[in-house]
Amino acid sequence: MLMTNEKIIASVDQSDHSEGVTDAAVWAAKQLALPVEFLHVLDRHLERAQSEDHSGAIGVDAQENLLESLSQEDASKSKMAREQGRLFLSRLRTYAATKGLDAMDTRQRHGRLLDTLTELAPEARMVVLGRNGESSAAGSKPADVSSTVSELIKHLPCPVLLTRQTFTPPQQVLLAFDGHSATRHAVRAVAESQLLSGLPIHVLMAGRHNNALQRDQQKQLDWAHEMLAARGFNVTSARVGGDAAVAIAHHVRAHAIDLLVMGVGRHSAIRHLLLGSNTAEILRASQLATLIVR
């Protein structure tokens, strides 16, 4: 177990996203020169029952017998999940090694994904997640971001990299910017980090325009441009009108963007906006790997 916070946690499950997550983690590890810890969470789903006994009859030692049978059921399920998880992680380790990753570790934990990651995140510089996974409902489209993931974005204190089933190292980065503190922080974080160094960055200010605000917005945008350019990034900045989600999706297609960066604040109004329908909308519309910075 890697105990420093100088590591990347790659949260994997046995879904089709695990390869994308691994590739993304390998890329981030190389950029940041950090080790990766593959985390596999075994959730017994205590909130769900398996029982098919609707007889409603309770006899002698009803409580003891029920406890006995429920715990036996749980024990056998846990043991099986543990073995499967071990095999899965060892396959993943081999796969990551072929991709050139040396410094890595694996860890299995019992509990809910949300609780486990919230608990472990302080030990990490970054968490890599699939856009959805085993936990998402069978009917949901693979493009959707699962509710568990949206919840995680809200709770994790460190940057989160969301990937699709496949991940290719990004060539063109888009930073969604609105001038508020959360996105200004994202600009600063990108400027200071090694993660995206050397990549061309598009700073896009989208949203409805209002004349009185225009000059101020342009000033903000210039600030972001300068900030990134000073760090040697090849920056393109643009201000467009209309709905943010639509504008971003359009820009993504037009410029072959393959990584989206979004800033999320803790208490700002923008957090509400971004984490409300807007973030989900942007995430859904953009359909690509997304780095969420808080």
Binding site: R44, H45, L46, E47, R48, A49, Q50, S51, E52, D53, H54, S55, G56, A57, I58, G59, V60, D61, A62, Q63, E64, L66, L67, L70, S71, D74, L114, S147, E151
Partner: protein, 490 residues
């Protein structure tokens, strides 16, 4: 948001089915407990709906079933007999208020003083009382009733061997009702026991004078009901915690029970609490979330209001069979098997709790006796952890006593008697640094010993009294750091 969704919607299908199973078993119980309390069946049925409904939202233990219960019904018998239903409704509301206060004061934590033996005694007493409450239906009746009850029990326990997808208590009720109607049997039915609900419950303020006198009438009943209700709810919550391997919020449960009872009182229902038997049935049937409790309450009301005419035709024998099942399922049979192997003091506590409850029909009294007895037994046992050794110096002029262990009210006499006052010696040294003085009795025992020595002309030196009496501070343990302790010793 995520938590809310998880508590309500993560187990939907199972919760709905389990809620249905529970609702079917709740109907006979609610009717039976109304009869125990001496009120119309509709009072218990309305109560069961209200309590299940509110506690589904406000309770602290998802998946636990609360409704009108036997434990509470037994406490209201006298009040109903002497003052009538309206006073019971008032007492129910007051019970709720007291329970909310208990939740705010975080009295749920007091449950740690109720030992395992007392809990077992409580559960067993409850099962016995539920069983005894069925006896009036079984005494002085024709053989038909016995045959019906036996057949009912047969169906309840044998039908699950056939299929576990249909609740066997439902099959019992349907079959026995059909038999009774088709054969035109002359036996007592639910309809003979009083009024059944013919409409949804309505909000009404209890019709009683709001005076000091009223308060003196209902307060004692309400206080007892508040205590018993919370005890059974806390016990049931920890049973569900164990079964599902998930935690509950005990103080939220206190407040939730309180709100449920207030709502029940205003809607014409009697006081209730969590039910051990029904909660076990719920978990067994796959109920885990709040939805199961809500489903149970709502389906109960729908079935009773819309099938009221049919419900009235259910023979009491069918209900008796269901209630006997609940009492068998609630009773802790292992406690009988373990009577021989458990420590005698634990068995005595359990039996005393059962006997007091069965004699007084008051679970609160039983628990009080049980808790006091466990306290006595514990004090007695710990009082034996006291060792006093002594050694005279080579000249025979000074004797050194070393006291190790616990000195308090239960061991102070042994402490005083352990010294040899009649020994002719110049001085004694009593080293108490390895003993704990827990109360004023311990200090006065030491004073007594010192005085006795002095009367014999022996000089006394006491060593380490400060360390020994550190435990006397009331908040001992809360700021007791091992590091600080060892620093003080050096």
């Amino acid at each position: 948001m995520n938590n809310l969704r998880q508590e309500w919607l993560s187990n939907t299908r199972n919760d709905l089915l389990a809620g249905l199973v529970v609702a079917l078993a709740l109907i006979p119980e609610a009717i039976a407990f109304s009869i125990i309390a001496g009120v119309d069946p509709k009072v218990g049925l309305y109560a069961s709906f209200c309590i299940a409904f509110v506690s589904a939202f406000m309770g602290g233990r998802p998946g636990m079933i609360s409704a009108a219960t036997g434990a509470m019904a037994l406490l209201m018998v006298m009040l109903v007999k002497t003052h009538g239903l309206e006073y019971l409704l008032g007492a129910t509301i007051l019970t709720g208020l007291l329970q909310i206060i208990a939740g705010w004061l975080r009295l749920g934590a007091l449950m740690r003083f109720v030992s395992r033996s007392v809990i077992t005694g409580f559960v067993n007493a409850l099962a016995i009382l539920i069983f005894m409450a069925q006896l009036p239906e079984l005494i002085d009746v024709s053989w038909v009733v016995y045959a019906m009850t036996a057949a009912g029990l047969g169906i309840i326990y044998l039908f699950p061997l056939l299929t576990k997808s249909i609740p066997s208590p439902l099959v019992t009720i349907v079959v026995l009702t059909a038999v009774s109607i088709s054969l035109g049997l002359d036996i007592r039915t639910v309809g003979d026991m009083g009024e059944l609900p013919d409409s949804l419950p309505v909000f009404l303020f209890p019709d009683m004078p709001l005076t000091w006198e009223t308060l003196t009438i209902i307060f004692p009943v309400s206080a007892t009901m508040a205590v018993v209700g919370l005890l059974e709810s806390m016990m049931t919550a920890s049973i569900v915690d164990d079964l599902t391997d998930t935690p509950s919020d005990k103080n939220r449960e206190c407040v939730g029970q309180g709100l449920s009872n207030i709502f029940a009182g205003f809607m014409g229902g009697m006081a209730g609490c969590a039910m051990i038997g029904q909660s076990v049935i719920n978990v067994k049937s796959g109920g885990r979330g709040r939805l199961s409790t809500l489903t149970a309450g709502v389906l109960l009301l729908i079935m009773v209001v819309f099938l009221g005419n049919w419900v009235a035709m259910i023979p009491m024998a069918a209900l008796v069979a269901v209630m006997i099942m609940v009492s068998i399922g609630t009773f802790n049979w292992a406690s009988i098997r373990n009577l021989g192997t458990n420590p005698k003091s634990s068995s005595a506590v359990m039996l005393a709790t059962v006997i007091v409850v069965v004699a007084t029909h008051d679970l609160a009294k039983g628990v009080l006796v049980g808790v006091l007895l466990s306290g006595f037994f514990f004090a007695h046992k710990v009082g034996r952890v006291l060792h006093i050794t002594s050694q005279a110096d080579p000249n025979g002029l000074v004797r050194a006593y070393t006291v190790r262990g616990q000195v308090f009210f239960a061991s102070s006499e042994r402490f005083v008697d352990a010294f040899d006052y009649k020994e002719v010696i110049d001085a004694v040294r009593i080293d108490v640094s390895q003993a704990h003085f827990w109360d004023v009795t311990a200090v006065s025992a030491l004073d007594k010993a010192v005085t006795k020595f002095r009367r014999e002309g022996t000089d006394v030196e006491v060593i380490g009294l400060n360390e020994a009496s550190a435990t006397m501070i009331d908040r001992f343990g809360t700021h007791d750091k091992p590091a600080a302790d060892s620093a003080a010793l050096h």
